[in-house]
């Protein structure tokens, strides 16, 4: 027997692809993940909803409790608070409970389809202890960076609201004076100087024209011919012809005088027009001098715009914010759209959505039933009900507009957002009665107006880029209060007397035109009342100041205007006199020549 020969080569170890012993730990990890999900899914969903909601709305979204029941397909949210994106210490709404029935299958496509939401105990405008704004800076100006689309829309609507030129109601303070009236800024003085120069040049031109008539030789020649005719015999044909030629020359000279007379008349009319222009310029100077007086504006529409435009613009700005936000989140059409991605430690990037025809939208709320309270802090809060249907991230896929409505004894509201077609149309309306309206400071005046309990109406229509909106406020319990900064000066007391007795308030603001450049019109019942009272109380002072302004203007322009006026009058007199004198001499000479010619050509028996 021979021993087997040892193998000269060692077999290479077989390469294992799978690490089977790791299956156990991996399964353990999966089980741990499942348990963690079971334990913390509600918490994670609550945090996620708060984070996404805050990013979407530009204001803090807080949830006390959220429970997901995937088996039953419902989500229950309790203690929902959404802060106002516009006001620091106010909530947009609070809800006691929201119960949502959701479709579970679309969740696998990351699509949230809510068949029905029942919302109970909704309250609006409740106070909060901390600033809940995210899109706005703490001071309420500009946009908070990183606030996503909500921040951009908030900044845009703020810029939009700033474009309106709101007049300032300036009331005269202290002594009225026009010391700052600068003669160089008066238009009458340069106009008078120009008119004087024109009169000088016309005078020279006329003198040249009179000299150019060359009447002297014509008159001398005609006079000599006349003398000849007196001594000539009837058979002296040459003298007869000479007489006829002399008459013709006199007639032509008369024609030249007539032409000059027409030119003079035109020039004189022009100078008289210049004198009228001086009067117009003086009236403009009166207005300019009056503008330097800082007199109170007594124009009624100006008063309304100055007093109420800032307050009336706020509801427009807020509704526009929500409408523009809806347009960003619910755009028409089926093209891919990029939105800011979810917040995380790393850069958020952009989430691009790819809607597809006949597919489900990314988000859809088919219907919601709302039960809410108005005036929740009062002794008897009023309970109302409302409905909402068709809120979708892809209206073109859902195919129907969003419709919302709510009503009650003194309350009616409706909203209709149609983003189904290419041009979105957003319409909303609200009537709210018996609710105490917030007090506000009157811009430019040390006054505060508390409208009291009244009725508010708001209508809003944004059709493509055209806006039509109306805000109306009516109250019979308006109360005015003096600000601590109000002085005890006469003028302050006069203002206070003018407004303090006015308790009825009817205000209407209208906005119309292209969204980029809309027209704002504000009117109220206080327009005429305040204007009339202001006129009455400051009328004498205004009249005296205006008189003073006119006198100052007159004093400044008199030394320029009066010489020009005299120069024009003198020139007119001189020119007319010269022409009349020349014309009289020519006429007399022509008459004598013609008479002598008639005598000369008469037959002997006729003499």
């Amino acid at each position: 027997m021979t021993a087997p020969a040892p193998s000269s080569q060692v077999a290479a170890p077989r390469l294992k692809i799978f690490r089977w012993r790791a299956v156990g730990p991996l399964l353990v990890l999966v089980v741990i993940a499942g348990v963690l999900w079971w334990l913390f899914a509600d918490t994670l969903a609550r945090h996620g909803t708060q984070k996404v909601g805050t990013q979407l709305l530009g204001a803090k979204v807080e949830i006390q409790d959220l429970h997901i029941d995937l088996a039953k397909g419902n989500v229950t949210i309790r203690g929902l608070t959404i802060a106002s994106p516009h006001e620091a210490l106010k909530n947009l709404l609070q809800a006691d409970e929201l119960v949502a029935d959701i479709d579970v299958v679309p969740l696998t496509e990351k699509k949230l389809i809510i068949d029905r939401i029942a919302a109970n105990g909704l309250r609006f405008g409740t106070p909060r202890e901390t600033d809940g704004r995210v899109a706005a800076n703490a001071d309420g100006t500009g946009s908070g960076k990183g606030a996503g689309i909500a921040g951009v829309v908030l900044a845009e609507t703020r810029e939009w609201a700033k474009q309106f030129q709101i007049p300032v109601l300036q009331l005269a303070t202290g002594n009225i004076s026009i010391d700052s009236l600068d003669p160089r800024r008066l238009s009458t003085i340069p106009a008078a100087e120009a008119l004087g120069a024109r009169a000088d040049s016309m005078q020279k031109a006329w003198q040249a024209a009179v000299a150019g008539l060359q009447l002297g030789p014509t008159i001398d020649s005609a006079t000599a011919t006349l003398e000849k005719l007196r001594t000539a015999r009837a058979t002296d044909v040459a003298t007869l012809n000479e007489g006829r030629q002399a008459i013709e020359r006199v007639k032509r000279a008369s024609g030249r005088v007539t032409g000059l007379e027409r030119g003079v008349k035109t020039g004189v009319a022009e100078l008289q027009g210049g004198l009228s222009g001086l009067d117009s310029a003086r009236r403009r100077d009166y207005a300019f001098a009056r503008s330097l007086l800082n007199l109170p504006s007594l124009d009624a529409p100006q008063i309304s715009a100055a007093l109420f435009a800032p307050a009336a613009l706020k509801p427009f700005e807020r509704v526009l914010y929500w409408a523009q936000l809806a347009r960003r989140y619910m755009p028409p059409g089926l093209l891919p759209r990029a939105n800011t991605g979810p917040p995380r430690l790393r850069r958020a990037g952009e989430d691009v959505r790819f809607p597809k025809e006949n597919a489900l939208p990314r988000f859809l709320l088919r219907s919601a039933e709302l039960s809410f309270l108005l005036q929740p802090t009062s002794d008897q809060p009023q309970r109302y009900a409302g409905r909402l249907a068709g809120l979708s991230s892809d209206p073109a896929l859902y195919g129907r507009p969003m419709v919302g409505s709510a009503s009650g004894p003194q309350f009616a509201a409706g909203a209709f957002l149609n983003h189904v077609r290419g041009t979105p149309v957003d319409t909303a309306g609200l009537t709210l009665g018996g609710v105490r309206l917030p007090a506000f400071d009157v811009p430019g005046l040390p006054l505060r107006l508390d409208p009291g309990a009244g009725t508010t109406q708001l209508g809003f229509n944004l059709n493509g880029d055209n806006i039509h909106a109306r805000f109306a406020l009516r109250s019979s319990n308006a109360r005015w209060s003096r600000d601590s900064g109000m002085t005890s000066s006469t003028i302050d007391n006069l203002i206070w007397r003018a407004v303090s007795g006015l308790s009825n308030l009817e205000l209407e603001a209208r906005l119309s035109g292209e969204l980029e450049r809309p027209q704002l019109a504000v009117r109220s019942n206080l327009d005429q009342a305040i204007a009339a009272r202001l006129r009455a109380v400051v009328g004498e002072e205004v009249a005296a100041a205006e008189r003073q302004a006119r006198e100052r203007v007159d004093a400044l322009v008199k030394e320029k205007v009066d010489p020009v006026r005299a120069q024009v009058n003198t020139l007119q007199t001189q020119a007319n006199g010269q022409i009349a004198q020349q014309r009289a001499r020519l006429n007399e000479l022509q008459k004598q020549l013609e008479q002598r010619m008639r005598e000369f050509t008469r037959l002997p028996f006729q003499r």
């Binding site: 692809i17 850069r347 952009e350």
Partner: protein
């Protein structure tokens, strides 16, 4: 400090493990995906499972994950640009629309510019990183590897308890 020690342990452990350079390089390549792309995404669960189940260097994967996280943060603007270009390319719109409206696929967040951009970048880097790392490990072991193994520093590092945890998943 503990994290740094563990990283160094992982690095030396992986370099001097019984695993082949290819296994180590594959682990590092998979780990780079974890580090470069945003972590909480379904594709990373798949990559993590692959790191555990496939016979590649798990330590290399963890090491690469830790090393590539800061690189991922730095390159986010590039990823955003890549993702934006891909997602909004008209020629790819049909593909993305189909994927977006499929079950499960949207849960990968592929429609996020950072996620898609970083994943495409990481996949493009996968093979170059694998081959480069495999070559580098081979060279290391052939040149200075044995001297490092005999050094006091290496012995001190490997004496730590954390090394025992590593050994559980060594290739």
């Amino acid at each position: 400090v503990l994290t740094l020690v563990k990283l160094i342990q992982s690095l030396f452990g992986a370099l001097h493990s019984e695993g082949t350079p290819g296994q180590l390089a594959a682990g590092i390549a998979f780990g780079s995906i974890l580090g470069l792309t945003p972590l909480v995404n379904i594709h990373n669960a798949v990559v993590f499972a692959a790191l555990m189940l496939l016979n590649v260097s798990f330590a290399g994967g963890m090491l690469a994950w830790a090393l590539f996280v800061p690189i991922g943060f730095l390159l986010d603007p590039l990823f955003d640009w890549i993702g934006h270009g891909l997602l909004l390319a008209p020629s790819l719109r049909g593909l993305w629309t189909a994927l977006y409206n499929m079950p499960i696929v949207p849960l990968t967040n592929f429609n996020n510019t950072i996620v898609l951009g970083s994943l495409v970048f990481a996949l493009a880097l996968l093979l170059p990183l694998f081959f480069t790392t495999r070559w580098a490990v081979t060279r290391y072991r052939a040149t200075v590897g044995e001297r490092v193994r005999q050094s006091k520093f290496y012995k001190a590092v490997m004496a730590s308890k954390a090394y025992n945890v590593y050994k559980m998943f060594k290739p």
